[in-house]
Symmetry: C2
Subunit: 143 residues, 2 copies
């Protein structure tokens, strides 16, 4: 749990990089063993690509680093609960753990837990307040 907080802080740093680009501030990292092998942040506006979520880029970068489609012994840390697309991508990677910060309160009609691979452990609410406030502050400033 101490480790989860440590790594979530790195994911939060990525969220702030997204904020600097006027993107919805969501960050993600992939850790293999204890090594950070991928860092990414939301780039949907910059890349003009609705699928350029932090998680998707982190998965692609981690697979590239490992030379494997499967993210064995890996954990995804992401500041917001993954959407259906990203949960579905996590399924294909068979990643060991997905740890997220803030809960997604917008898309609650879909039971996203069913989308993960059965062997993936899901943990929510790590640094929840910090992860949630960076996003809510962003939208407040947009109004």
């Amino acid at each position: 749990m101490v480790d989860d907080v440590f790594y979530m802080k790195l994911a939060l740093q990525e969220a702030f990089k997204a904020l600097d680009k006027d993107e919805i501030p969501i960050g993600a990292i992939v850790v293999c063993g204890s090594k950070v092998i991928a860092k990414a942040h939301n780039l949907t506006e910059t890349l003009c690509d609705a699928s350029a979520h932090a998680e998707m880029q982190a998965f692609t970068a981690a697979s590239n680093y490992l030379g494997s489609k499967y993210l064995k012994d890996c954990t995804l840390y992401v500041t917001l609960e993954p959407c259906a697309m990203c949960a579905g991508a996590a399924y294909w990677t068979q990643i060991d753990r997905v740890v997220f910060g803030a809960y997604d309160k917008k898309h609650i009609n879909v039971d996203k837990k069913t989308l993960y691979h059965p062997k993936t452990q899901l943990v929510g609410g790590v640094l929840e307040d910090e992860c949630a406030s960076v996003i809510s502050d962003y939208f407040k400033n947009k109004r």
Copy 2:
């Protein structure tokens, strides 16, 4: 419906390109109005990326072509029913229509219909037999 068959044949051509690369043969195209603006096929092995499904690449290419995250007036044609990841990606694009060939009989535990944007029309079973047999033949040859 005649148009759907016409465009699905183009998606099938993409599936055969995947087959030539010893990839699971799934192809996709995106049509905007009546113009084909993206063609793609499954490249998960070639790119060593579990998210490199035909649909994901087709969405990214189509957005790049249109200069928009949103695929307005567009239809995705794909030879196999999209997985949760790809349905989730379709949600973000708000694409008008998703037309698929073969039904995915493997991942029936998830109600994928709920993952699409409410305004997306979903049509299945276009050239179903042709789309299914290219995949089943691939797996038969692997055994």
